[in-house]
Symmetry: C2
Subunit: 351 residues, 2 copies
Amino acid sequence: MENRSVSEDDVLAQYRTPVDAAIRATFDARGDLPLYGMLQYFMGYIDETLRPATGVAGKRIRSSLLLLIADLFGGAPSALDLAVAVELFHNFTLIHDDIEDNDVERRGRPTVWKLWGVNHGINAGDAQAFITTQHLLKAAAVDPASARASLELTDHFLQVVEGQYLDFELADKPLTHPNVTVDAYLEMIRKKTSVLIGTAVAAGGVAAGCDAKVRDLLFAYGESFGMAYQIADDMSSIWGSVEETGKQAYGDIVERKKTYPILYVRDHTNEPRLVELYSSAAPLSDNDIQEVVAGFDRAGACEATKALGRTYVTQAHEAAQSLPLPQQSIALLTGLVDSLVRFPPYTHAAD
Amino acid sequence: MENRSVSEDDVLAQYRTPVDAAIRATFDARGDLPLYGMLQYFMGYIDETLRPATGVAGKRIRSSLLLLIADLFGGAPSALDLAVAVELFHNFTLIHDDIEDNDVERRGRPTVWKLWGVNHGINAGDAQAFITTQHLLKAAAVDPASARASLELTDHFLQVVEGQYLDFELADKPLTHPNVTVDAYLEMIRKKTSVLIGTAVAAGGVAAGCDAKVRDLLFAYGESFGMAYQIADDMSSIWGSVEETGKQAYGDIVERKKTYPILYVRDHTNEPRLVELYSSAAPLSDNDIQEVVAGFDRAGACEATKALGRTYVTQAHEAAQSLPLPQQSIALLTGLVDSLVRFPPYTHAAD
């Protein structure tokens, strides 16, 4: 399942170019206020001195999926604006998340607030939110199907913000709190991550004129994809290297995030020392972190979390297989899940 | 000019009720997540324990003006959604501004971040931003004129965020920096405050089917109104009491904001001690603050600032007088400026 298919990645990659071109154009249209330089920096178009950069930061998965699905269902003239809206929204949440999580690095580069301060981080994110809105309005003006897609996206964007609220709630409670449950964790990642991928996929279909049944299958595909993707991402914070993730090593352990591995250990094994380490307020030493990782491995948390993630991979496959599409397109969609959701042990660096 | 006309305030007040009813309904529709309780708190519908409150926080000037103008030009079915969008956007900026300015109180009540922390403050604001977007999309779906109004509002919302960026830039520079000029201050308040009032007024007309010439006059009326309003607001931070402003006493002096009075003193009088106090980094003592206020008064900064504000009052009057409206409606619009823009000495508390 972790074998990476070059062809599927290539299919998605071909959509990144128009998305990035459209985002660059929308920033350029706002003029040269450094405020927009911060946003261009975060997207990877320029470096921290606001000079052109060679690469692009981020994989543009959500927007590329939206464009792919729209194409698979015959195309939609509003698809690019919807895709830009989804990508800008996603990155807007990351700019603010980095402040909220006190993260100094993302995609191997300093975060916006780290470079320019919290105030500029909040404000630059706010600008991106309303550039997002501009693209939603442009898409909505195209036809009634696109207007429906824009409204649906916005409703789900709000669920992402709700997911961030649930994340705070989970983070603020001790590990032994009765409301810190696997269900609460799953609901949090569903809203924070999966709903956005679900709505991106569904919007591509809705804008292309899909009926409600197909829209629901598309949403289910994207949502399950997103659940698997987030669970795999949580695993990479524990079992991946900095080179693979571009994030702080063991960041989720340092912040004592209640992701599935620690909940599994708490509920299914007897590791009082781990529960104690997660319940204390003192900063975790490097030794503590190694102790946590060793405890996870001893308890079989890696295998258990992988098994959970794989149930969502299977659900995503099943939703894709029910879609009224040629077998080749279905294989592409299932292959994309397998390609993008990577569980340990890792055989190559993430891009 | 400072004589308050009861009838004009009453005209505006009648529009507050539908705006607040619609905002309450939109929050209610999102369910009972405490995230939305924070937003209801900020609007004044509930208190900090999330129980119903008796009053409403804020005057709803922007949304009421939008509804009034739409009515004066024959009405627009999208006007309420546009008005709600403007009001939600305005309050969204305040929730984030309070974090950025480290303000613990607004409208005589603790700010959102003060009660629930910075992370919730950022995130609750983000939710309000996308509820704003929902109303823009709903309005845009009504007819082409409303779609134009929604797009125009969004473009100007971005200018407000740009204004906040300019505010940071001005605040970060010393008083003696060559870029700290009256023009820079005026451009900052134009984007941060005036453009929003201008676009609210214009949107009411655009949605009601006004042509471009009338739209421009409406924008000019609102923009000049906004300039006068902000200059008067800046004055109230120096010459108003806490009871009148609901804000921290002498907040702008404490934060050494480069508003017009200190720029006037720097450019037109010889008060080296004031320039020195504004150039130091040490917190200002109560004595320092009294010294600043005494210096302002000695230098005639109050009269000079009032004169500046009055030029914008005059411009707003002139724009209103050019509108194709009955004389009674024009008198209402000019009277509203006189009623809402109040310069010292103050004869009664602000509402």
